[in-house]
Symmetry: none
Subunit: 281 residues, 2 copies
């Protein structure tokens, strides 16, 4: 709960003078952040120490600290907390909730990412003779997207959304091949099988999936997409975006490691696309 909410919350339990202070702040928090303690005291018709005591009541070190917290609680207005959509939400509400939840999921993932594992995964990808992205169902497009991305970065890639193809490719895998297996739950039988086959043939398996899942056990490197609390209907949406972002990170890592020559390649690709486009005005 942010500072401003706390003030509202505790309005009743404040004594006379402090309530005066609270009311001035609530009345116009934005300008309150610009006032000196003297001005605020005057505006509330109380003494300066009263304002100071008021601030300390709210876990602030003093008046300046209080103002900083107040400013922060004013910022943006919306704290990034995953809130689930309700049946009677307005368009504004559910739009905001979806964006906010997605941001919250990314933020959690950001904090939970293991840079060591990313680095390890990049090591494998760089040395790969062939990279295959595997994903079924909702993870299918994620795999295809990864293919596009890595292709742009001039790497030998393929994506498969078809179980039979996956099996065939896994069966024909060699040491040096890398399979990136994408699965939200990590429990899709077929994918777990394919991962095992690939591994048995000496390939490296990078999993983008849930921790402690059957798939996780088959992976050389597992990048866990930390899954937030509620697993309701809307979850797969945000988890998929986390997966995509993890793949962005991997692609970036590979690119950086490969050095400068890729810029040339990228230029070529961009050129090749120009013909298909209307020119910019």
């Amino acid at each position: 709960m942010n500072l401003l909410e706390q003030i509202y919350d505790r309005l009743d339990s404040l004594n006379k003078s402090e309530r005066k202070v609270a009311n001035v702040i609530i009345g116009d928090p934005a300008t309150a952040t610009r006032l000196s303690i003297a001005s605020l005291a005057q505006a509330a018709s109380v003494s300066e120490p009263t304002v100071n005591r008021f601030c300390r009541n709210f876990e602030a070190k003093g008046y300046p600290d209080f103002k900083i917290q107040l400013a922060q609680s004013l910022a943006g207005g919306t704290p990034y907390v995953s809130r689930s959509v309700e049946q009677d939400d307005s368009t504004e509400e559910y739009t905001d909730k979806i964006f906010t939840s997605t941001i919250a999921a990314l933020d959690i993932a950001r904090k939970g990412v293991n840079a060591g594992l990313i680095s390890k995964a990049v090591d494998y990808l760089i040395q790969a003779k062939q990279i295959s992205f595997l994903g079924l169902g909702a993870s299918g497009p994620v795999a295809t997207d990864a293919q596009h991305k890595f292709f742009r970065f001039n790497l030998p890639v393929a994506a498969y959304e078809d179980v039979l193809m996956m099996r065939m490719v896994a069966a024909a895998a060699h040491t040096g091949d890398v399979f990136v297996v994408i699965s939200y739950t990590g429990r899709t039988r077929e994918l777990v099988d394919v991962a095992r086959i690939a591994r048995e043939n000496g390939a490296t398996v990078i999993g983008i999936s849930a921790e402690n899942s059957p798939l996780a056990k088959e992976c050389t490197v597992l990048l866990a997409a930390p899954t937030p609390e509620d697993t309701d209907i809307y979850m797969p949406m945000t988890s998929r975006i986390v997966q995509l972002t993890l793949l962005d990170v991997l692609a970036t890592g590979v690119t950086l490691r490969r050095g400068v020559d890729f810029h040339q390649h990228l230029k070529k690709i961009k050129e090749s696309l120009k013909a298909t486009r209307y020119p910019s005005e």
Copy 2:
């Protein structure tokens, strides 16, 4: 643009001492808000007036005012500022940058979304006899993903990544059909053509694309994915995530509008998938 972004933006145009100050602030903006001018000056190895001048450079009345603004730009404590990846970034650094940029892009999009247009788009989707998602290249997987999502919500959907198929479907379009056309630039010739054909046949075209683009002109409703400043190599990544999130919003809107019956449907789908999975422990 918030204060922190401004600082990033003007880093180059600052002189030596001021850049020192900027770097300290950027390095840890959160604690910077708690420092006195003396401490900050010391941390940056400059004099206090230099810090003061620095603050005034950024349209602040003085140091305290600057801190307030900084605090506000720090919503929730984490600075979500799009920073581009540098060649010599460590794994931690580029990982964080990618996540942060993605979040920043979503945040910008969140603020820029027009709820009225979302609502309008949802209206069309709900009444649609048939919904087709069209995307080429990097937007292809986005279209396919949308198909998956909307299918789960029991809507008559298809996705096309193939130009010829698109043309055929557009040519056979009827009033009541809805085409969702996804394009980052909005300048892909083929897509623009297809959109026009679909419109001419009475279909509704919902664009998820850039404003003022050729594609935008062919759309019944345009959901602009506001594109942040720099269009360098990494941009398409984040823009695609904004597109996906917009589609999440649309899917959610449709679901909410359709009421309760869809829960039944969702349950059925979940059941059907169970057989393919290893059970949860």
